[in-house]
């Protein structure tokens, strides 16, 4: 081409997948997040997949220390962060080695060449330098001496020592901004806001960002590569970019508002749920009390105390923490107090893979308690859906006076996507009324008098004169709530508690089936597999095959129409990031011969994996 860069129209792509990879100290999550925000501001649809080690700082330069952030941006409504990156930014040999296999054939690699020296190559297990041994010949490689260019860019800003190279992630970001025609302004504004108190650091970061951008602009190696991804045609509305832990926290605040109750959140720090605690602790002006407990058991116990006191009580954790909460959860079930228990699932068992996605706690949520102890289960299926799911969990807990388990997972919690915001003033109103008067003929308050429709008992909070009563873990006599060892009473109370939960099936949205072409195969999912299943379904349909898709938000009880839906298809596929948990529940409940697609490899499904299975089935 003979045109100069100034008059080159960027080539338009419909989508591009970029993965930033480097050492966990290299600021890759930050670079990825900034790129995401700039793309959101530009109007692209997007989805992200951050991946980082469980260690805060694994040894520098090693394979376990690699941190990456993948983002897909598109001019249409994409659903996932994508299977194979088009572009890999590799800040060191370890990042190249651990991510290269995912890159698409002929993909682009941006390499920080100065990190490819003997020591780093050895730490990553390279015996030959991949930059010179020809192993990257099948890719388009952009070599950038990022460290010396960063040093040069910041030399007049006054930063020194370790701060100098700290901004090299901004060089990578600037270069990617140029390559994909992203505006720099959102990032510059963000830097100024973030480092307002350290102007020299702000200046260094901005200088490096611009240096990266200008490097792309001026070098021969990349000048014909500038492409853009045009804004997506998303449904009209007001959007923000949201991650699941944040939207879940906001959903709890919204739920408390809808119920007109103060929110109490008891939690013990645990990955990947801690951000919910962090976020809620920032919003005390909403009447939110956060309690960082001494352990998981205290976190739920204190929440039960707050629930007894009339607060919307919530406790949040991840798998190992749910195990510790199990006994107290049965107490909440027995005392029939409203409580939300959040489980942000991660790879298990035991400490397992704390920063990796898995859906392997469904059966634990369903059955992980002693005695007959059924509880409603609600699962969030995407970062934005976590908001609505939290509100739904609150609604059920309060209306039915029961603990509710709200399942999220690492993909929902740490991934982000554009969220079409609900209209202003559209919050539902399910405000709670506490008991104020005795409910028995002799003027006493009987804690186990039930609502005839919901079977919920009344919520009488301490401080209400005349309604003094005692609750507890011993079996209670129906109506009076006195301790009872009577055998018929235990049968009745056990059955009643089960009926109460089962009956919720009549009060939840029937499962909707997306089946425009009258398919004979249904793919049924739950939780964070929603985007990837949707993408796979779209591909299969584009190839001319009808396929139906349904996704469950309510895992217990199931929607009332689910059995009928399942029986109207010849084949049912259930993809899950576990060894087959929903499928067991479905088979047991409906005697449907569903087929599982299961994976527990610390990664989300690829679209192609589900697509291939569906093509095999139809």
């Amino acid at each position: 081409m003979s045109t100069t860069i100034e008059d080159t129209e960027p080539e338009a792509l419909d989508k591009v997948i970029i993965r930033f990879a480097g050492d966990s100290g290299d600021g890759m999550q930050l670079a990825g997040n900034r790129f995401t925000d700039a793309s959101a501001a530009f109007g692209n649809d997007l989805a992200t997949f951050p991946s980082f080690p469980a260690e805060i700082r694994a040894p520098a330069g090693t394979l376990p220390g690699v941190s990456s952030f993948q983002v897909q941006i598109a001019d249409f409504d994409i659903l996932t962060a994508g299977d194979e990156p088009d572009v890999l930014v590799a800040m060191n040999p370890a990042a190249l080695k651990s991510n290269l296999a995912d890159l698409r054939p002929m993909g682009t690699i941006v390499i920080n060449t100065e990190a490819f020296e003997e020591r780093n190559l050895a730490k990553a297990g390279y015996t030959e330098n991949p930059l010179t041994d020809g192993s990257l010949n099948a890719y388009k490689v952009i070599e950038v001496p990022m460290e010396s260019l960063t040093k040069e860019a910041v030399k007049d800003t006054g930063v020194s020592g370790r701060d100098v190279l700290r901004s090299k992630n901004m060089f990578a970001l600037g270069l990617m901004a140029w390559l994909y025609s992203r505006p720099l302004e959102p990032t510059v504004d963000w830097i100024n806001a973030k480092f307002g108190r350290k102007p020299e650091v702000a200046e260094a970061n901005i200088a490096t960002l611009k240096a990266g951008y200008n490097f792309g602009f001026t070098t021969e190696a990349t000048k014909n590569s500038a492409v853009t991804v045009k804004p997506a045609k998303l449904p009209p509305g007001e959007y923000t970019t949201i991650s699941g832990n944040l939207s879940l926290a906001w959903g709890l605040i919204a739920g408390a508002k809808a119920a007109n109750l103060p929110l109490f959140y008891g939690s013990y720090p645990i990955t990947p749920a801690s951000d919910i605690l962090h976020e809620l602790s920032r919003h005390k002006n909403f009447g939110v009390r956060t309690f960082q407990a001494e352990d998981e058991i205290a976190a739920i116990s204190a929440s039960i105390g707050a629930a007894f006191g009339g607060h919307l009580a919530v406790t949040g954790t991840s798998g190992p923490g749910l195990a510790l909460k199990s006994e107290a959860l049965s107490l909440a079930m027995m005392t029939e107090l409203p409580l939300i228990v959040i489980n942000v699932q991660r790879g298990g068992p035991s400490t397992g893979l704390p920063t990796k996605p898995e859906q392997s706690d469904l059966l634990f949520a369903m059955y992980g308690r002693h005695g007959e102890s059924p509880l409603p289960i609600v699962a969030a299926s995407s970062p934005s859906d976590a908001y609505e799911s939290a509100i739904e969990a609150v609604r059920i807990a309060l209306k039915y006076m029961t603990p509710v388990i709200l399942l999220s997972d690492n993909s929902v919690a740490t991934g982000s996507e554009p969220w079409r915001l609900p209209e202003r003033d559209s919050l539902p109103d399910f405000r709670v009324t506490f008991a104020t008067k005795p409910n028995s003929p002799d003027g006493e308050f009987m804690p186990y008098v039930r609502d005839p429709l919901t079977f919920a008992r009344q919520w009488a909070v301490p401080g209400t004169p005349g309604l003094e009563h005692r609750i507890g873990g011993l079996e209670k006599e129906e109506v009076s709530g006195n301790v009872s060892y009577n055998s018929d009473n235990h049968q009745l109370m056990t059955d009643t508690r089960a009926w109460k939960v089962a009956n919720i099936a009549n009060d939840i949205t029937p499962v909707a089936v997306d089946d425009p072409d009258g398919a004979s195969t249904l793919v049924l999912g739950w939780g964070s597999t929603l985007p990837v299943i949707k993408a796979a379904v779209r591909r299969v349909r584009n190839e001319g095959h009808p396929i139906a898709h349904a996704h469950l938000r309510h895992l217990n009880p199931f929607p009332a129409n689910l059995g009928e839906v399942l029986k109207s298809y010849d084949n049912v596929l259930i993809p899950e990031l576990n060894t087959g948990q929903l499928i067991r529940l479905i088979r047991a409940e409906y005697l449907v011969d569903a087929v599982g697609l299961n994976k527990v490899s610390a990664l989300p499904f690829k679209v192609t994996e589900i697509e291939a299975k569906l093509l095999e089935m139809i």
Partner: protein, 335 residues
């Protein structure tokens, strides 16, 4: 608010009390009901929270709000309740196994946070409800069902433990001394923050006479060391014994053998003195201090701290608006 005149009967629930005949818990229940009636606490504002164990049946017998929770967790349940509802008077009742074994963690954290809880630990030095195993306060060598050759577990000193956990109010009393029990309950209630009261309680079925040195007519006056703030620590049939500091430790001496000025004047605000006094007896088989070891009010309570932050956040940021919150990261509009 109108004052209501209560009698002890107003705090008795309609449930039959089912402790073993002769159990020390009956006396304590009566002391607590009597105190509540006189305290001025409105019945609807009192909540008794317990864990599991004989003592933990307590809430069922009080005509107040109450929760019989799970083993060891009562201090945590009560922490949540008191934090959510600082307007309530929240009491925690449990035994030595409940509070110091399975629930030890919650007890020490409630104490260090200074949550506004009144914690009554009925110490009978045995597991009663599970029919007689040694507890974390049983003496070494104790023969029980689970220690046929004698217990090799060294016991906690509950006073030292509570002080070590930074408790702001630490006291000890005795089931057989209802007057003193009443005084300790009153002082605990008046204290702003966590109040830990150990109540020696006789289990006449599984550990009878564990406190005989403090209760028998013959020995009790020689062994009860009543601590009173600002007063010299003397005890004995004729006040012939005294406590002095010797080589940094509280030591019992014949009062006549020391100068009057050497006798320790009890100062309940002095942590070092409180700790020294807690070491005077490790088990109640000889002279044992009873009364308030420590009471300080310089630390704010946890629940007040939480609620002050809420008030501050509201006054600086205004009441939260959910529609603004979900737009707080910046938005864009698709037309």
């Amino acid at each position: 608010m109108t004052t209501i005149e209560y009698t002890r009967g107003d705090f008795q629930s309609d449930q039959e009390v089912r402790w073993c005949p002769g159990c020390g818990d009956y006396t304590i229940l009566a002391s607590v009901q009597k105190f509540m009636a006189a305290s001025g606490i409105r019945k609807e504002n009192a909540v008794f929270v317990s864990g599991i164990g004989c003592a933990a049946r307590f809430p069922y017998y009080m005509a107040t709000y109450g929760m019989h929770s799970i083993h060891g967790r009562a201090p945590a349940v009560a922490t949540g309740l008191a934090t959510a509802r600082p307007d309530l008077s929240v009491w925690v009742v449990g035994g030595d196994g409940d509070m110091m074994s399975i629930g030890g963690n919650h007890l020490i954290h409630a104490l260090r946070r200074n949550v506004n809880l009144k914690i009554l630990m009925f110490n009978n030095q045995i597991y009663g409800l599970t029919k007689g195993q040694y507890s974390p306060t049983s003496e070494v060598g104790k023969t029980t069902k689970s220690s046929p050759m004698g217990s090799i577990d060294y016991p906690f000193n509950p006073m030292s433990l509570a002080l070590g956990a930074e408790a702001t109010f630490v006291a000890r009393t005795l089931d057989m001394d209802p007057k003193h029990t009443g005084e300790m309950l009153e002082a605990a209630y008046a204290h702003k923050g966590s109040a830990f009261v150990e109540i020696y309680q006789n289990c006449n079925v599984f550990n009878d006479k564990a406190f005989i040195a403090l209760t028998s007519k013959d020995d009790r006056d020689s062994n009860r060391i009543y601590l009173e703030h600002g007063k010299p620590i003397r005890f004995g049939q004729d006040m012939e014994k005294a406590v002095v500091m010797h080589n940094g430790e509280a030591t019992i001496v014949d009062a006549a053998a020391v100068d009057e000025t050497a006798i320790l004047i009890h100062d309940q605000t002095n942590m070092s003195m409180a700790f020294a006094l807690s070491r005077l007896s490790h088990s109640p088989t000889g002279p044992t201090p009873l009364g308030i070891f420590r009471s300080v009010d310089e630390r704010g309570t946890y629940d007040d701290g939480v609620n002050a932050q809420l008030a501050k956040a509201k006054s600086t940021k205004g009441d939260g608006n959910i529609d603004d919150l979900i737009r707080s990261l910046g938005t864009w509009t698709v037309g």
